[in-house]
Amino acid sequence: MGRMTFVLRRLLQLVPVAIGVTIVVFFMIHLIPGDPARTILGIHATPRTVALLHAEWGLNRPLVDQYWLFMDRLLHGNLGVSLYYGGPASSLLLSHLPPTLWIITYGSVLAVLISVPLAMIAASRKDGARDHLVRAVPLIGLGMPPFWLGFLLIYAFAIKLHWFPVSGYGSGFLGHVRSMFLPSLTVALAIAPVVIRSLRASMLNVLGAEYVTTARSKGVPAYRLFLRHVLRNAVIPAVTVLGINIAFLIGGTVIIETVFAIPGLGQLMINSIFQRDFTVVQGVSLVFAIMVILLNLLADIAYALLDPRVRFSR
């Protein structure tokens, strides 16, 4: 199977999954008690005014009808109107998407930058002092709740050293790079320990392979041996581990976004749930689902590109 066919096939698989997500999310959010009309109209609302708003939003119609209406709009590229703000849900989603993408991308890059050298250091002396150190110390990042780690980083690098802003998204590319460093580092420190261990384990596996012994006997320098022969082969399982963790991260950025006051999709999701802003909750869930599916697809493509033995056939 060609690469394009593989990608197209995987993208087509996205459609039923996305539809499944819309069904689950739509009916789950409506199962929760609570009323967006009451949220907006406050305590002075009379049953009549609540009913008026329900009719305006179509919330007085049967749930199945509301779902079809939602799907009909969706197929026309319309996510509906935010019940809370009154504006299009799509513009809310679009404005909240970049900060989340920044955290995920920046966090993943930092995780790789931290993990690769540390895994190499650990693998270079199995069971040595630095191996134990590299395996043990990053576990602090894994074990520490991200909100706590985030506050520690803010305190150290923003309050004491004034290297970074306390929080926020920043403006302009360089502003984002600076503002999003600490939140992304928080994410990276949580992911890195798993990637380090995975990479170290694969590296030790590869180091035992015959082709490495051959290369070594040919007098290939250590750095070249590590970078060309060991790392490239060892990185394959680590890509999968990283992919899974990033996919996990997509739904879990809300804490980081809260600590660092970043207006991302996680924040939007939580606020919309509290406000019972059904259209926005549905929209965000759909975006999250698509992001996870696309990420898995990217991981598969990366896997196949890194390992020529893997064909685009799965």
Partner: protein, 561 residues
Amino acid sequence: MTYRTTAALALPAGAASRPGTPPVLARGSYPPEPPAGAQAPRPRRAAWALVAAGAMTLVAACGGSGSAGSASGGTAGGPAHGGNLVVARTADSQSMNNTTVFDNESIWIFEQIMQPLYTVTPNGKGVEPWLATGYTVSPDKKTYTFTLRKGVKFSNGKPMTSADVKFSIDQARAAAKGWGYIDTAIKSVSAPSPGTVVVSLKYPWAPLLADLSLFSNAIIPANYGGQTETAFYQHPVGTGPFKWDYWHKGSALKLVRNPYFWQKGKPYLNSVTWTDVPSDNTRELQLKGGQAQVDEFPAWSTVSSLKATSGVTMHLFNSTRTDYLAFNETAKPFQDVHVRRAISLAINRAALVKAVLFGNGRPANSFFPPQVPYYQPATKGLQYNLAEAKAEMARSSVPHGFTTTFLVSSGFSDYLTIATIVQNELKPLGINVKIQQLDPNTANLNQQNLKYDMTLTYWTMDIPDPDELATFGVDPNSGARSFFTAYNNPTVVKDTHLAEQTLATSARQALYNTIQADSAADAFMAFLYYSPYAYATTSNVHGFYVTPLGNYHLENVWMSK
């Protein structure tokens, strides 16, 4: 204002008073160990730590500083002009439509843009002329003629006239889904000349000026300046000190100086930005790091440490906030006054103030807060007395106690603290309390539908007159069904409506004294405590003041270097 709760996110660490959600943390699994005996070559030594530190420094050097802009001038020559004030707030606004919106985070913003004819005095107990300069009233007290302030312009440069005032108040009155009820006494509004407005009433109405000072009656251009209502409120225009700049929903909202503001030399600030920072800890850190100048609602647990922090000023403004424990009188056995009195007497309010507010408040004696006109300090209320509480229980329909449920909005750690303390305090009465935590939206809905036994609620004043609170609190036929308790004492209801149309101050005071005493004796709610409004600002912020009604006038605020 009013009692409404808004949902915002709080974090467990140091979280004190905001609704929230438990953290969800994604964690991966460990990879397998490598096979034993694997050999490893020695890689070239690399100064990874130095590389990492270098990268951090490089990233840190990117972008601009997070400062709030600069202000010129200083304390020596009077208020400085310039600067961008950043207010870190708990949640986003909902809408800028002043006639229909109930949430404070919207109100506090559009109050800087749109202004009413009268405004609340700094002590929160009266009104003073604002866009009007005065009025005359007819002998039958049913016709008020207001003189408009000369030279007032909207932020688009057009002068404000009586036609704008008539349009604005007519729109506010018609807002069926909003604050229209506040203007029910108004029969008509007319504009006989550009500088004069006549308000005709259906009957003499004591709270009229207070009602006109409400933000819903603020003045906007007639016919929305030629726009549709929806389009107008996307970027509203008013006579206030600031005008619209932008609103990035869920992130930040910015207003800039209105060059046409009618107070000479004001506002001092170039702009004000409200940023959405739901975490208490992050708001505090933003203040300490100079990224924000105002921290809206620092956690009570941090008040004493913020007082001691250099560069930070901790403000505790007198407020009209009163917290209550509400009883649902449609649920057994809360229709029994002895049960309600027993519970009210069993609550140690001083202990609540200490545990929840860290001492920054005081026990409540009336359902009126002290900062509202006609508050009666002599009303003792039902204060902590366990012996009396037991005696009341003995006289009740359930002398041996009962089991009941205490509904609490989840995420409010303060509320859970109160519920836990009350749960323990009611044990000696034989009352077994089960705490039920529901998310704020559901909890509010259950409260409004009277699907609860006991719950917590609060109130802050919208107008400097007790009428709104009294009607809301004790009239079962108002939309709120007596604070959603179904309390019904016909004498109290009658006195409440009598007070609305009683213009003589002494007679009104007498009526409100009776209302406060009777409702306290009926213990329709247990009045818990009065608390101040907590705001922390950086020490270079001057003139920041919050009235007991929660409004602030940012035209008076300036920043020194």
